[in-house]
């Protein structure tokens, strides 16, 4: 119950951050990715602010065994840098550059009632589902 409420609140604050920062607007994101044209460096400030604040959170979490709500703290344990990590990230980057949407902003735009976001999110879920199917067959 509390975990679900905390998740809801975290999602909400995250989404508000995406709206306030301008990242929920694909044209703004593409303005950042367009270093060869008129470049809008705003997104770098989003990253800087987000990383600075969350670093404090992870430092505090690193000193604890359990979360404040009593559950375990589950952080990724993978260490190796492989073809999946790089290849997957490159594919993601191409998709990001094509439409200016990454997963968070796409979900926020869905909430704004953008029909185009619905198409993007639908295709994204299809892609994620495709990954699940391929993984299960391996």
């Amino acid at each position: 119950m509390w975990t679900a409420l905390a998740s809801l609140l975290a999602g909400l604050v995250f989404g508000l951050g995406l709206i306030v920062s301008g990242m929920a607007n694909p044209a703004k994101v593409l303005g950042f990715l367009d270093v060869g044209g008129a470049w809008d460096p705003s997104l770098a400030f989003v990253m800087a602010g987000a990383v600075a604040v969350s670093t404090v959170g992870f430092l505090l979490a690193g000193r604890r065994k359990d979360s404040l709500l009593g559950g375990p703290i589950t952080l990724p344990s993978l260490r190796h840098i492989d073809r999946r990590l790089v290849g997957g990230s490159l594919l993601f980057g191409v998709g990001w550059g094509v439409a200016g949407f990454c997963p968070g902003p796409a979900l926020v735009s869905l909430g704004s009632g953008e029909v185009k976001a619905l198409v993007f999110v639908g295709a994204m879920l299809l892609g994620m589902g495709l990954f699940e199917v391929i993984e299960r067959r391996r």
């Binding site: 999602g11 926020v108 892609g127």
Partner: protein, 145 residues
């Protein structure tokens, strides 16, 4: 040297939004002990496991509900989506497959991963940033799309 798009450059709003995103990630790991990575949280819903669905769905609901809550207080800023439906579908597919193979996106690797000083996330972030820059350069300046 890139030409700065001064009229669209909004450092303070960007920083304020970034602080909120960082606050959310910090809150998420401290309260729930999890990484606030949107693709990971969403992707996990596609292989539902007992006790693992509610917090994921709640986080997604929060994201989708953010514009509604924002709209209660002030006018929602207009978003501009120039891509057509076919392009959006292709992009969505690439983002869906790519973020799952790469185990993260701008939030999981770009924000949380960098905050954790994870070398894996640094490599992933550099890879998707580079791919994004190159893609936009090719589409806008080489193909003039």
């Amino acid at each position: 040297m890139p030409t700065i798009d001064w009229p669209h450059f909004t450092p303070w709003a960007a920083l304020a939004g970034g602080v909120l995103i960082g606050l959310s990630a910090a809150m998420f790991v401290l309260l729930n002990g999890r990484i606030a990575g949107v693709s990971g949280v969403l992707g996990g819903l596609l292989r539902p496991m007992k006790g693992d669905v509610t917090w994921r769905a709640a986080f997604v609901l929060g994201l989708v509900g953010a514009p509604l809550v924002y709209g209660l207080f002030t006018v929602l800023p207009a978003a501009q989506i120039d891509a057509g439906y076919g392009t959006l579908a292709l992009a969505g597919l690439l983002v869906g497959v790519g973020t799952r193979y790469g185990a993260g996106c701008t939030s999981g690797h770009g924000v949380c991963g960098l905050a954790r000083r994870s070398p894996r996330s640094l490599v992933a972030t550099l890879a998707f940033m580079a791919a994004g820059f190159v893609t936009v350069f090719v589409l806008r300046h080489l193909l003039n799309l």
